[in-house]
């Protein structure tokens, strides 16, 4: 047997201070005598609140309940709750249970969900973990996602602008020394290193990072050359324990010579070390001695591995 019943489904509820609304800018405060006479005529003495109203939109099946109450600061708050009323066909036994009287701590609750106990949360999505192997392949090789017909140039030779890696350029031996000469010749001028190779026109709609755009070249050249210098005296320390701090590294490497920079890779969330660090010495000789001295050194129950840092990808 099928019974019909009405179920009040919470859609969410809104809450705002009266004073926030533009049209009727009243800020009611209990205990103060600053009310206008109009309010007193409308609502009588303080502590009196307008009666709750109910509005039922039959077309949309929406029920709006408006209530007024005092909040903790003594201000009057208007609470508007909107419910969707649905009629659902259910089996007789469930329908009978729907009309049971509330008991225990819920005995005083009005029909419908009590907002103190039942809260509608924000929308969340189930996160699907797709086929692991497939997703890993995709992550490893973003090139495979791109169309393979060669219209999109991914690799561009720095020498001849051809569609191959710079090292495999057929004109490497002939063109590169020429370009280097050009570069050297350009150095004393204001135009920096990348000027001859840097893309000059924005035609073609290709994205050019701000640092490579025309007019943005001034500061960049210097800092780049600085970094180049630094990298020559940089060592990479791996197999560090999780608890390692920068101060520990400083203590460990300072005996070998002045250090210009220590970079310890850390997890963004936990702040723990990821197990490797880069150390820039002022002098390359110091770095070499540090490698000699510390490589294979037992530190915090792990054996350190120290080597020259590979230069970061050169542009």
């Amino acid at each position: 047997m099928i019974y019909c019943l009405v179920i009040v489904k919470g859609l969410g509820w809104l809450l705002w201070l009266f004073g926030v609304r533009g049209a009727c800018c009243w800020l009611w405060c209990c205990g103060t005598r600053s009310k206008s006479w109009a309010e007193q005529v409308d609502f009588g003495d303080e502590g009196f609140l307008p009666p709750p109203t109910e509005d039922f939109n039959e077309k949309k099946g929406l029920k709006t309940i408006t209530e007024y109450k005092h909040n903790d600061d003594g201000k009057v708050v208007k609470v508007i709750r909107t419910f969707k009323v649905e009629t659902v066909k259910l089996s007789k036994s469930i329908a009978k249970r729907k009309v049971w009287k509330k008991f225990g701590a819920a005995s005083g609750d009005p029909p419908g969900p009590n907002p103190a106990n039942t809260v509608l949360t924000e929308e969340i999505q189930m996160q699907f973990v797709l086929n692991k192997e497939a997703s890993q392949i995709d992550d490893d090789d973003p090139l495979s996602k791109l169309p393979k017909d060669g219209r999109v140039k991914i690799v561009q030779c720095r020498i001849c602008k051809g569609d191959h890696w710079t090292t495999k350029c057929p004109y490497k031996d002939t063109l590169q020394p020429l370009q280097q000469k050009l570069e050297e010749g350009a150095k004393p001028e204001i135009a920096p290193v990348s000027a001859p190779v840097g893309p000059k026109s924005t035609a073609g709609g290709k994205y050019i990072p701000p640092t490579l755009r025309e007019g943005a070249n001034k500061g960049r050249g210097e800092s780049m050359t600085m970094q180049r210098k630094d990298e020559t005296a940089t060592i990479r320390v791996t197999n560090l324990s999780e608890d390692t701090r920068e101060s520990d590294l400083q203590e460990l490497f300072r005996p070998f010579g002045p250090i210009s920079r220590i970079y310890l890779a850390k997890d963004k969330n936990t702040g723990q070390s990821k197990g490797f660090a880069f150390i820039n010495f002022h002098r390359r000789e110091d770095a070499a001695r540090a490698i000699q001295g510390v490589s294979g050194y037992g530190y915090d129950h792990l054996i350190l591995n120290v080597e020259w840092a590979k230069p970061s990808t050169q542009q």
Binding site: I7, V8, K9, G10, V88, L90, S91, S93, I94, R97, K98, W100, K101, K102, F103, G104, A105, A106, S107, D109, G112, P113, N114, A116, N117, T118, V119, L120, T121, E122, E123, I124, Q125, M126, Q127, F128, V129, L130, N131, K132, N269, T270
Partner: protein
Amino acid sequence: MKPIMLHGHERSITQIKYNREGDLIFSAAKDSQPNVWYSLNGERLGTFVGHNGAVWCIDCNWDTTKVLTGAADNTCKLWDCETGTQISSLKTNTAVRTNGFSYSGNLIMYTTDKTMGFPCEIYIFDIRDGSQLQTGNPMSKVPIESPMPKITSAIWGPNEEYILTGHDGGDLNQFDLKGNWIKGCKDHSGQINDIQVYKDFSMFITASTDHTARLFDMETFEPLKMFKTERPVNSASISPLHEHVVLGGGQEASLVTTTSTRIGKFDARFYHLVFEEEFGRVKGHFGPINSIAFHPDGLSYSSGGEDGYVRVHYFDQNYLDFTFEY
């Protein structure tokens, strides 16, 4: 989906259960008042007032007329579901850890903790016999002898023939109604936190602190499947609709305050029943999930967490349409 958050408890949830038709959710927590809710809109129907300690377990019978709760105040109480009044209260020596109605609703069982010099015991009552409830003399009583670790979870087997128990050390055992040990196995290496049956009682899933949930054949105890995670599993449930299981768990409760939500892995995790592979996660709780249950129609599920909230999730169409690629 837009989960409904049920906030009726002041302390962490210990167990949640749907009734047979799925219109009500029963929730027990470490505070003294178990709650009952309408699952459709999250409206609270009532609370059962009378316990004096943490309520560890809750169950209701098949026609939703009676509710059984077991608590750390050394009582197991039988309630009338419609009015929330107490029908009877069974006094025990130690805290009641697990309980359950048999399928017919005529028999009840509960197990007690091994503390204060008292052994862990299984009690079985016939609630048709009023004298048993009045005097507190059970139909049968099964002491769990000392080499066997204490019971941490228990359910009725099919046809009310036996009781299935999960133990502290990871053992699973069957006891018949006379208290005779039938058989056992030990596949888990950690405490079994939860046992839930499939809708036709042909198999059951266990959730263990050894970071796995396992699927067993009900009759033979043959281990069928294993679902691996990186954290203790507190509860696991089998979908009655799809070949899916959902696992709830996460960081141990004692370590929760020192870890962020992301690292604690408090998500509900959905695995394919056959391929043992995880395919989905649902976030929401900010503590480990202590109890998780599928709605009997498989279109929604609920989880109760250490954070004291019960969250009712109605699945989106994209879950219902989801097919596992193989």
